[in-house]
């Protein structure tokens, strides 16, 4: 939980008059934080209410109950949906990390004909957002017979122009001698990639992984149109189904949504530092 983006600055000892002046500042940060968490708090509050108390105008539920959670869990295999999300996001992340390192390395460190041209074309692909290609991609995946399979959820996304771009830039920025030393030892490119480039790029790869995982976990449109059966649906689609099926019982919808939120929230709280530095690195380079 500790997060020190700036280790060289230390927190000054408590000083009453100075802190007194800081009251407006604390009011401001608290107000901002309150606005940010308010919708989530209302959702959480709704998830702990019985049908009868659902609309009672109180901040806290008048009588706490876990019944909505029981209902959400018994009528929907939320665990399975979360597992699907986890599985697809992890495999997409793994795929992106691998393809980005190999292609990024080839484009940065291997003497290839038309290397710059290939790189330029990949950079051009950065401008093609998935929301544009989803329709023809859907028809493509459909004609391959992949609808309602993990393949459809994973394979189209395991190569990422952004990932390749990031890795190429990163590997290009490393000093040449690191690679020359390995070459003199007689190592081939695969070996240099594995023993030199990847260890050096671990922080960049971590950033890429965090970004990719987050993006994959949040995918909504794609699983919405490519999955049909319960077995294949992801947590995002589970929420969509909850809304259309249980809309008259918002406490159950809220409980389901909280359960879907929990894994990412916990992951964020536990690994906040990695997440934050990962996003900062990946996002800024991108």
């Amino acid at each position: 939980m500790t997060q020190n983006l700036e280790p060289n600055q230390t927190i000054k000892p408590f000083n009453f008059s100075k802190n007194f002046k800081q009251i407006p500042f604390y009011l401001l940060v608290s107000a901002y934080a309150f606005v940010i968490v308010l919708p989530l708090l209302t959702l959480f509050s709704a998830s702990l209410r019985s049908d009868a108390d659902l609309y009672a105008p109180t901040f806290l539920p008048p009588h706490f109950t876990l019944e909505p959670y029981r209902l959400a869990l018994t009528s929907y295999p939320l665990g399975h949906y979360l597992l699907n999300s986890f599985l697809t996001s992890s495999l997409i992340t793994l795929g992106v990390v691998i393809t980005s390192s190999t292609a990024g390395y080839a484009l940065a460190r291997v003497k290839l004909p038309y290397r710059e041209l290939i790189f330029g074309a990949i950079v051009g692909l950065l401008l093609v957002p998935g929301e544009i290609t989803f329709l023809p991609l859907y028809l493509h995946v459909n004609s391959l017979g992949w609808l309602d399979t993990y393949t459809a959820l994973i394979v189209p996304f395991i190569a990422s122009p952004l990932g390749i771009f990031l890795m190429r830039q990163f590997l290009k920025s490393l000093p040449q001698d690191l690679f020359d030393a390995a070459k003199i030892d007689g190592a081939g490119h695969f070996r240099i990639l594995w023993h030199v480039a990847i260890p050096l790029a671990s922080s960049a790869l971590g950033a890429l992984a965090a970004l990719t995982f987050l993006g994959a976990w949040n995918m909504y449109l794609w699983p919405l149109v490519t999955t049909q059966s319960k077995e294949m649906q992801t947590a995002q689609i589970a929420v969509s189904n909850l809304v259309s099926a249980e809309g008259s019982q918002w406490n159950v919808v809220a409980a389901g949504a909280i359960l879907v939120l929990l894994p990412t929230l916990l992951a964020f709280l536990v690994a906040q530092k990695a997440f934050v530095s990962g996003i900062a690195l990946g996002g800024l380079k991108g």
Partner: protein, 311 residues
């Protein structure tokens, strides 16, 4: 690992004479390294983009049984329908709200927490929190918060002595409400990026400015903003693309309504493809959107890209 063992040979045995052989070995390795990614990109980005373009010049029945060439018919229909312009306009409105709002709120958040203070970790966690909230959960939370009769938002509004507001049910409100929701969902991400950006500005610049007697206000305009501008530019691009491609929150909260007021472009493509079952027409819409995005990106680079301060 087998490959790495065999690929060793050309490099290790290569005397000066077999330079070409060596290069060929290197090409082979490079090809092996590059091809998986390239094949995947070709099949899942390049091919769909091209086939989408081809599709947009065709016509078919709702069941995909017959497909035939239709020339520019889909584009002509696009141009003749008022929905086309209306969607463009809605998307523009939405983007012009979301991108600046997200950037502004994210900047405020970052400026509040980038320096350590007592409790800074706690507040950073809260400020960055929405990064961990999936779109669907964000939409559900806000849907409940803004519920027309018994949502907390109206409950608060009423407590303040104001009339109850039709957040998502009035055609003139809904798009703005959705914009705020979208900005809320994205602001954590923006705050993370901008906090990192702020921390990348060398502290001695501020110290020197303080010695010169510059106020915090002057420091912000003379140091923070110029040095943060590359980050702001990139984050701006990011928020722009994010807001132009918003989908989940619209699908869950308004489905384009009320009175088509939240029919942003991506939602229209989805609607025409998967609801009205007119894939070819939707493909034409998608391609038009793509070209519009390209144009916008080019414009942004032209007008803002130059002004950005690079170190």
């Amino acid at each position: 690992m087998n490959q790495s063992a065999s690929s060793q040979t050309p490099a290790s045995v290569a005397p000066q004479g077999s330079r070409l052989k060596h290069l060929k070995g290197e090409w082979l390795e490079g090809l092996l390294l590059l091809s998986p990614a390239v094949i995947l990109l070709l099949s899942f980005i390049v091919y769909p983009t091209i086939s989408g373009a081809v599709l947009s010049f065709q016509r078919e029945d709702p069941f995909g049984k017959s497909r035939e060439w239709a020339g520019f018919a889909n584009y002509l229909e696009l141009a003749s329908r008022p929905e086309f312009l209306a969607s463009m306009f809605t998307t523009l409105k939405f983007t012009l709200l979301v991108a600046p709002l997200e950037l502004l709120l994210g900047l405020i958040a970052a400026l509040l927490v980038w320096r350590p203070f007592a409790g800074s970790n706690f507040f950073r966690t809260l400020f960055f929190l929405t990064t961990a909230v999936p779109t669907s959960v964000a939409a559900v939370a806000w849907g409940w918060f803004l519920n027309p009769l018994s949502g907390w938002a109206n409950w608060i509004v009423r407590a303040l002595g104001l009339p109850v507001q039709p957040w998502l049910t009035d055609p003139s409100y809904a798009i703005w409400t959705l914009g705020v929701i979208t900005a809320w969902a994205g602001v954590g991400f923006v705050a993370i990026l901008l906090t990192a950006g702020l921390q990348g500005i060398p502290e001695d610049l501020y110290e020197a400015a303080r010695l010169d007697g510059a106020t915090a206000w002057v420091q912000f305009w003379k140091i923070t903003l110029p040095l943060l501008s590359p980050t702001l530019f990139l984050v701006g691009l990011l928020t722009l693309f994010r807001s132009l491609t918003a989908f989940g929150q619209i699908h869950l909260l308004t489905k384009g309504g009320p009175a088509e007021s939240t029919f942003v472009w991506v939602y229209r493509v989805y609607q025409d493809a998967f609801f009205n079952f007119r894939f070819t027409y939707a493909a034409a819409e998608g391609l038009t959107l793509f070209l519009a995005l390209l144009l916008l990106a080019a414009l942004q680079f032209r007008f803002f890209g130059r002004k950005v301060h690079y170190e």
